[in-house]
């Protein structure tokens, strides 16, 4: 019989605000994409301006959040530097994974910016000063968010070679959608996970035990 006492934290910890923001952002990206599909632009949602603005929005969000919530706020320059660094890293990674090197380089750049934008809130809410002092209480969530974003993108690539001749089967589109869905899902799970697995007494119960143990700790 294992049950952990859940962390005594306010419902509006940085972590949770980050999660809410992520869910909101991912949902609105998907919504935006859906709206554009009707206009016949289906394949080209993730253009350079779009991804760049998402990156800027997330940098602003992280800055504002840290300004209000953190004891030591994050410098704007370090956020920008971080965004540039991770974009370059993701760009190199996607070229290594087979993205075209010269052709469509703008798409690769916008994709890598989107990816770095997606993982920025989680890192910013966890890291005090971006790597200088990590807040280890939410390190787990940061890793999970990074991981599921990348995993979503990884899975998204598998529809590109299929011969369905859909307009959205062009290079960054399904991969970007996969990343957005992965990021949103992991944040959503983080938000509603405790609500499902924690009972009224504040014990975290994982799903198998929930059905076997009743009111023992109440």
């Amino acid at each position: 019989m294992q049950s952990n006492r859940s962390r005594s934290k306010s419902r509006f910890s940085n972590e949770n605000i980050g999660c809410i923001w992520n869910v909101f952002l991912c949902f609105s990206i998907m919504f935006w994409r859906r709206m554009n599909e009707g206009n016949g632009e289906g394949g080209n949602t993730f253009q350079f301006p779009f991804c760049f603005s998402i990156l800027l929005v997330n940098i602003t969000f992280s800055y504002v959040l840290s300004y209000f919530r953190h004891k030591e706020k994050i410098e704007l320059t370090s956020l920008l530097r971080y965004g540039l660094l991770t974009s370059t890293l993701f760009h190199i990674l996607s070229v290594l994974f087979g993205a075209p090197f010269l052709k469509n380089w703008d798409r690769t750049i916008s994709f890598s910016m989107l990816l770095s934008a997606l993982i920025l809130p989680s890192v910013a809410t966890c890291a005090g000063n971006l790597g200088n002092s990590l807040n280890f209480s939410c390190f787990e969530w940061m890793g999970a968010n990074e991981l599921s974003t990348c995993f979503g993108a990884w899975l998204g690539a598998f529809v590109i070679p299929l011969d369905w001749d859909c307009s959205w089967q062009v290079w960054p589109e399904p991969v970007a959608v996969g990343a957005v869905v992965g990021c949103g899902l992991s944040s959503l799970l983080k938000l509603i996970g405790p609500a499902i697995t924690t009972n009224s007494a504040g014990y975290k119960m994982y799903w198998p035990t929930k059905y076997f143990v009743h009111e023992r700790h109440v």
Partner: protein, 908 residues
Amino acid sequence: MKKRNLLLFSWLILLYANGVIYFLQGFLLTRREIHLKSAVFDGVSCCLDSKYKQIIILIIDALRYDFLVYNNSTNASSIPIYHNNLPVVQRLLKDNHGVLYQFVADPPTSTMQRLKGITTGSLPTFIDVGSNFASDELIEDNLLSQMTSSGLNITFIGDDTWLQLFPKSFQRSFPFPSFDVWDIHTVDRGVEHHLLPEMMKPDWNLLIAHCLGVDHTGHRYGPEHPVMPLKLKEMNSLIEKIVSNMNSRTLLLVMGDHGMTRSGDHGGDSPDEVNAGFFAYSPGWNIKLNNSKTRAISQVDLVPTLSLLLGIPIPYSNLGSVILDLVLPEQLWREIHPSEEHEKNIALSYFSEALYLNTKQIWRYLETYSRDSSFPKKEFEQLRSQFDLAVHIFGRLKMERCSSSCASDLNCCASSEMLEEFIQTAQIFLAEAKEMCRSMWARFDLTSISIGLIIFAFSLCLHANFLIDSESLRMRPVQCFGIMGAFLSILVQGWSSVVSLGLSLTPVFVYLIGTIGKMRLFQQFKFAYLAPFFMAVSYTSNSFVVEEPYVVHYLTQSFIWIPMFFKRPTKNRMWILRIALSLSTRLGLAYFRCREEQFPACEAYSLHRSLTSLSGTNWVVCGRVSIALASCIALYLLYKRYFSLDRQIVFIVMIVWCYWILQVLCFMNGSDTIGLIYLPRLFYIVFIGKLSHHMYTFLFDNELSKMPNYREKTSNMVILLSTLAILLAGDGLAPGIILTVVSLTLFSQLFTGDSSCGEMWPLYGLLSVHGFFASGHHTSLANVPWETAFVGISHSDIQSEWANVLPVLFVSYSTAFSMLLHAMSVPIVSLSEMILKNKDSRKLFNGWLYFLFFHAVRLFGCMGAAALHRRHLMVWKIFAPRLLYELLFAVYTSLGIVASLFIFQATM
């Protein structure tokens, strides 16, 4: 200890071979092409007088039978929109000017195969032995070649598939591209534009027009889309135009080469795909045929009919029988259907004449064919007696005719009963002959296919058992029996499937049952064992096969990087090695080749072309040379750092370089020197000498002092083997191959001393497949590297029988060298230290076992996909070539494993 490994591997390989042989027997039904031609004076198939001066064949691709038939249902809403769109056909039928048939195609119902059927009269199979892989040109005797040799002229308009099949047969041709399935108009517009002017010209005897619009509309929209009636109406107006410009000595044949399914596709054997429409019309006709039953003719029947109508010999390998209604003497067409005794006799004696020619031609073909490859004995004997009977009756007919007064005339007076008897006999013979050939060629042998798959599947279980249960020392006798059983089972293929199944699988079952209890399944199981299964599953999708280079590259990169998410290495060296490995794999992407299906999305770089075929500036040449040099130097440095490189390899590489430089110089001067032949030969001699030297040091030079060198010796052997591939591939692809060896070296450094990694062996298998693609290959028949066959062999050498062995060896080696290399270098990868210890054999053994498993599972996936999609549109274009390549990989993998196993045991 020693013998056990050999025993195991030979059992597994024999079992796999057994399964594959069974599978192929069922799947690749082969027909031998006979390249004899019928001639006018060969005593068998000379001809009737030509009936029509001009024949127009209008092929409307995918014209289904019910598109032509008039649907007179009163309930208008129940009529599908694709019905009743060809009113001209109804009009002509009503006026008794035409006949309508159901034109039954033999699967596979793809256009290329159908055109072969319509022109040669034979039933197609995948591998027509003797055909030329490099081009699609039809070599077998066919209608068009018979026409050209009789001096008749053919004009062709439409689908350019015809031009691939018959590049030299047409006096005038107007081909249009057929590849873009979404383009529904180009070909039809072209046909419309050229058809009438060509018809007006006096100099043609056969005019072939091939429209693709209906087929492409079906592929794009399906038959029930409103575009379909529009397209059919377009065809209607085309036919109308042709009909209004015909004279009475012209015959028009409108036909579909196959039908389409409800979704608009074709390729399989469903009734919708097989039943095409056939409509014949001539302005001179006035006939009333009995239309009570649907009249079906086979597509091959067109060949003898047309040849008799044109007055040319029936093509040698035809299997069709004459369509009697169409060869009716002309004067009878003009009148009402013969009712009087005399006219009936005229018709019947004409029919028997035609059938006699047809019968004799088919029997000659069957006899020639059976001389080298056997038919089922019982059926063949039955056919022979039927043929003898027909000949006998015909002889009696002739006797009677000779005795009567009108011997030389067609209007002769053999009794109609006898004529009818002959016609019946001949028709039975023709039908039986076709049926026998069809049962041999056009059908997959499903029992044989499934036996092959079953044997293979259980061998995989056994293999997995060996992998999981690393203490597989058990039950030596069972293993010995297993080897004997599998071997016997290969030998007794012909007997019965039950015997061979029992022989090969009983020891497997015994072994599995005997060991399953002692196995620690869950402790030993690793995720790595599942990795090849994902690839195997992907082979069931044609797009994943087409895009396989990129899929493999993606998976390789994933296996390099994803583990980094879970365990972060502490050593910087690991990071650097991983980055370098990833980079060298990515660079290999530049040497990927595109296949036909990938255009236009895929952009092939010009990198894999040879320097002599480049038309670029000096900069391009300089760039290419520097790439080649850089890759060579990189490999040299790497090898020098990690292994002790054998210096003599430099000499061999110098020969290769000299050869290339000479090639470029000769190309620039436009001359041809003897050095182009002798430099590669010098290379071969040095290569063989060096190889045997390596073998010698492995086998006999294993004193204790030499022992530490086992890993290095192997590495030198590998690099020696790679030089042969480099020479064969030419200067363009050389960097791609070098990159493969670089990746191999980096990989071996990455995992030294850490062979417990789960991702190690799957990554290794993936790298071997990646090496295949990175050396400029793709799994389509069009990308077989034929140019490698004649490196160092002059064309005058290929007279003798044995000379074919070397080209085959070269082509297969340059295709699958990556598998051989990777199988041979398992010791480099799995041994960390230079000194060979006794416990190392365990590691080595597991490496080999997994490598074989990886390729076997993929082969199984390919076999399964080919069997599953045996009626798929793309089976002969995508799945079957993939299977053949995978087979080649399997052969080279087992070759490499067995060779290095021998070397290892000799060294121990």
